[in-house]
Symmetry: C2
Subunit: 115 residues, 2 copies
DNA sequence: CTCGGATCTGGAGCGCGCTCCAGGTCAAGG
DNA sequence: CCTTGACCTGGAGCGCGCTCCAGATCCGAG
């Protein structure tokens, strides 16, 4: 199975090497497998997961949120627990969307005023 | 015309006194009028503007964005300049909404999976 | 075998957005 | 007056999320 060097993984995910190591240290990804010499070897699965993390980071989730996300999905939680957690996150995101819409409304007013 | 003390203004806007002073120092609000003794006296207009600032902060705009926002709306820019700026901000917000929707989509998948 | 570029680790540094603190001033009640 | 509490200023401190650095190690090309 082919694996990716840190540089390639960084390139493919758009996340810097430093940030990849930071995410791994914080438990958001990995642990990433190592070669005999100690270098990281990213699998396609790792890349996929990094994509998910990036997606959530872009949506404004913090590192602690994501750590919790990983913990909930990986460890021994009931499906119910997971659904509860996921719904909470979803609801927080809805509120962020609502805040954005409010601000966009204000912008629209101003735009209309100056047009 | 009745004015508000810092504590009252903080209470009414939900923004802490320290943050109000910080916003003023950064040029996001005010300058706030002072009493003979040097204390701040917030007008209803100030409170309204603080509400706008809060709305944009909640939508994720940074301090620098807001400073620019104030500058654009207050100083000698053409309506065209203002509209260009406002549309840029709006478009950035739309992208944030899109990022949120992507993440919510992922969450929905997981929720469906565990339900 | 040697060289150079990629990677490793631990830790320092940084920009943002507050938040807190010390030391002093103002003003209303007693 | 004097006390008390809200407020003032300048500046330090903090949590977050990276980002950068030094010094060592690995490894493929020549």
């Amino acid at each position: 199975m082919t694996t990716l060097t840190p540089a390639t993984a960084a390139d493919r995910t758009g996340v810097s090497i430093d940030t990849l190591r930071y995410y791994e240290k914080e438990g958001l990804i990995g642990p990433i497998r190592r070669s005999a010499g100690g270098r990281r070897e990213y699998t396609e699965d790792d890349v996929f997961w990094i994509g998910l993390v990036t997606c959530f980071r872009d949506a404004g989730l913090g590192i602690a949120d994501l750590r919790e996300f990983v913990a909930i999905l990986r460890s021994d939680h009931t499906p119910r627990d997971r659904v509860v957690f996921l719904r909470e996150r979803r609801s927080a995101m809805e509120q962020r969307v609502a805040a954005l819409h409010r601000a966009m409304g204000v912008l629209d007013e101003k735009i209309a005023y100056y047009s």
